[in-house]
């Protein structure tokens, strides 16, 4: 058995003190999955509670804490770190032909900062949890009796972990590319991780300051936003959403990177236009910063500003549309093998475009007035986050599983979980669009009777979705022990990470790589 990064040293301390980006990636992968399961359980509690209009299993105060924790855990412990820290850490250095990231020790530090932040947040949750929602709107968050401080501090610490990871990836992409690898030769996944890191580095500091201001308001009553002392609560929403809208692009961009990789490999075809995909990544990254105001159309912001934000929001939709157009175009005249990762990507394609289009509808200012803070918006962002990023995460998990563990998994079980995921997802969240249209507000414990039918359908759907994740864990766990060994390149891909052994050796390549071909030139035989 050749020495690889898994078996060349196997003591616990070798894992905990490693600076090998692959091991850090695997540790992040495990941490992300745990966070996903915890957030998922909380989501199931919420759904079961909504089976009846009045109290079903928990009371109003507990319900408020559960949806706050569901939001905080899913956003900061799973969605934002998921693909960049797990797959970005593991793959970006290999895809660039480098031995490791630019600052290996900083990489390990950001993992431990992530664990510290997670510990503080979950500690605060277990202690008694906050009931402010993951958005911490003032003045409720500064006057509530529930202890908001631990969660604020926890998220503050998590923010620093993402900033450090972001700096690491940017510098790695700039300085550690293989000798003959120009900017047009790097895989598309690296482009999206690079774009995500730019947003992480430039947006997260504003979140850090926002959390500090809320903590000062809550703990010492400094009254930055205290209306009794002349404060203006809408200003909090400005600096909060200045971070939180780019944050949703931090969540979706890596997913788009996975889509580009998987489509090109399984269609065995060059992307329709490499520059279009790479450039639209930066289009999304930059215009993502311009559009935060569309979260505040009904918040008392001036109509003039609402108009500016409405127009700017339309720019972002354009770059997503370019990506979708290019992906669909890549399938044209390809050799498409419909395996489970590509099936996940089709789920992504349908749900992301469906969810994205409702985003355009919500950005049409007057329609947002009816939909704001209702289940329509809940459905919209779940279509993008669960339908988009989570399916891309599962696709990445299946696609790079042979490279990470060196084992293959049972294809038909994987296909079963894809179908289950799609059915479960659609049954859960499509009724919520109708609930939103019907006028059911968000974060409602008690609701009007005539919404109950749709809530029951949604709860049943969430059960199916949960079962899909269980199936995924089962067949991947099975393949860990009993899967037959995967070759270096089981899917026949031209991307660079498949040109080293799987699992890769400690320093990624036996000899420093000089790739003779570009990552997607499927129109030429290998090595020509």
């Amino acid at each position: 058995m050749r020495t690889n990064y898994l078996n060349h040293e196997t003591t616990i301390w070798s894992w905990l003190s490693t600076t090998d980006h692959k091991r850090i990636g695997v540790m992040f992968l495990v941490a992300n999955l745990l966070a996903l399961l915890l957030g998922g359980v909380l989501a199931l509690v919420l759904r079961i509670e909504h089976l009846t209009p009045d109290q079903t299993i928990i009371d109003a105060a507990t319900y408020n804490r559960v949806f706050t924790l569901h939001g905080v855990i899913m956003v900061w412990l799973f969605m934002i770190p998921s693909i960049p820290t797990a797959f970005g850490n593991f793959l970006v250095p290999i895809m660039l032909g480098a031995k490791d990231v630019a600052f290996p020790r900083l990489n390990l530090a950001s993992f431990y900062i992530y664990l510290l932040g997670a510990a503080i947040t979950l500690g605060g949750a277990i202690y008694s949890g906050a009931d402010t929602g993951w958005t911490f709107y003032v003045p409720y968050s500064s006057t509530t009796m529930t202890p908001v401080l631990p969660i604020l501090v926890g998220v503050f610490v998590l923010g620093w972990s993402t900033i450090l990871t972001g700096i690491n990836f940017i510098v790695t992409t700039h300085t550690l590319r293989a000798r003959n690898m120009g900017w047009r030769d790097i895989p598309l996944f690296v482009w999206t991780i690079y774009g995500t890191s730019v947003i992480q580095v430039l947006a997260t500091p504003v979140l850090a300051m926002t959390l500090v201001l809320v903590a000062m308001d809550h703990a010492f009553a400094w009254g930055f936003f205290d209306p009794a002392r002349g404060g203006d609560v809408v200003l909090f929403q400005h600096i909060f959403w200045f971070y939180s809208h780019p944050a949703v692009y931090i969540m979706i961009l890596p997913g788009m990177g996975v889509v580009s990789e998987v489509i090109c490999t399984y269609a065995r075809k060059d992307p329709l236009s490499y520059t279009a995909i790479a450039a639209s990544t930066f289009g999304i990254a930059f215009t993502g910063f311009l559009t935060w105001g569309h979260h505040m159309f009904t918040s008392g912001m001036s109509e003039f500003d609402a108009g500016i934000f409405g127009v700017l929001s339309m720019f972002v939709a354009i770059f997503s549309a370019i990506k979708v157009f290019t992906w669909t175009g890549t399938l044209y005249r390809g050799q498409i093998a419909l395996r489970s990762p590509l099936a996940y990507i089709f789920t992504f394609l349908f749900l992301f475009v469906f969810g994205g289009m409702t985003g355009v509808a919500v950005a049409t200012t007057s329609l947002d007035v009816h939909w704001h803070d209702t289940y329509f918006v809940v459905a919209h962002f779940h279509f993008i986050m669960v339908g988009g990023t989570l399916t891309a995460y599962l696709a990445a998990l299946n696609y790079w599983w042979p490279k990470i563990t060196g084992k293959l998994y049972a294809e038909k079980w994987a296909m079963a979980s894809v179908v289950l995921t799609f059915i479960g997802f659609f049954a859960t969240f499509f009724p919520q669009f109708l609930l939103g249209n019907g006028g059911m507000p968000r974060r409602y414990f008690y609701y009007a009777e005539h919404f109950q039918a749709l809530h029951v359908v949604s709860t049943v759907g969430s059960m199916i979705l949960a079962s899909a994740f269980v199936v995924t864990l089962l067949y991947l766990g099975w393949s860990l022990f009993y899967g037959e060994p995967a070759g270096d390149n089981p899917w026949g891909s031209r991307s660079y990470e498949w040109f080293t052994t799987s699992p890769p050796p400690p320093h990624n390549f036996e000899q420093t790589p000089a790739f003779g071909h570009r990552p997607y030139d499927y129109h030429k035989p290998i090595g020509a």
Partner: protein, 110 residues
């Protein structure tokens, strides 16, 4: 970020200019018209900041990637400032800040 040293005299001169600008903006601030003196204060501060960044932080010889990083940060800084202040400035009717609880003078009709 080159390796050959630039002339220290130039750096000292730039330092002197910034100190001079400190004196100028100190004097200007005593002007009667506060709005104009405020704009002048911000303007002179911007000049000082550009001098520091261009010479002291050697942006002059930096590679493009460094310039893009600096410009990106600055652009987003201005974006947050600009759109937030536009909101507050263009609110209709003028932002009516009232102490809490509300004190409505008799006969006041909004």
């Amino acid at each position: 970020m080159s390796e050959e040293p630039q002339s220290s005299a130039l750096l000292l001169l730039i330092g002197a200019i910034t100190l001079l600008l400190v004196g100028v903006s100190f004097a200007v601030s005593y002007g009667e018209h506060t709005t104009w003196s405020s704009i002048a204060a911000i303007g002179i501060s911007t000049i000082k900041a550009m001098l520091i960044v261009w010479f002291f932080m050697e942006m002059r010889e930096s590679r493009t990637s460094v310039r893009v990083a600096a410009l990106g940060g600055l652009l987003l800084f201005g974006l947050l400032l600009g759109l937030t202040v536009t909101d507050v400035a263009t609110r209709r009717p003028a932002p009516l800040q009232v102490p809490m609880p509300l004190h409505v003078p008799a006969g006041h009709v909004d």
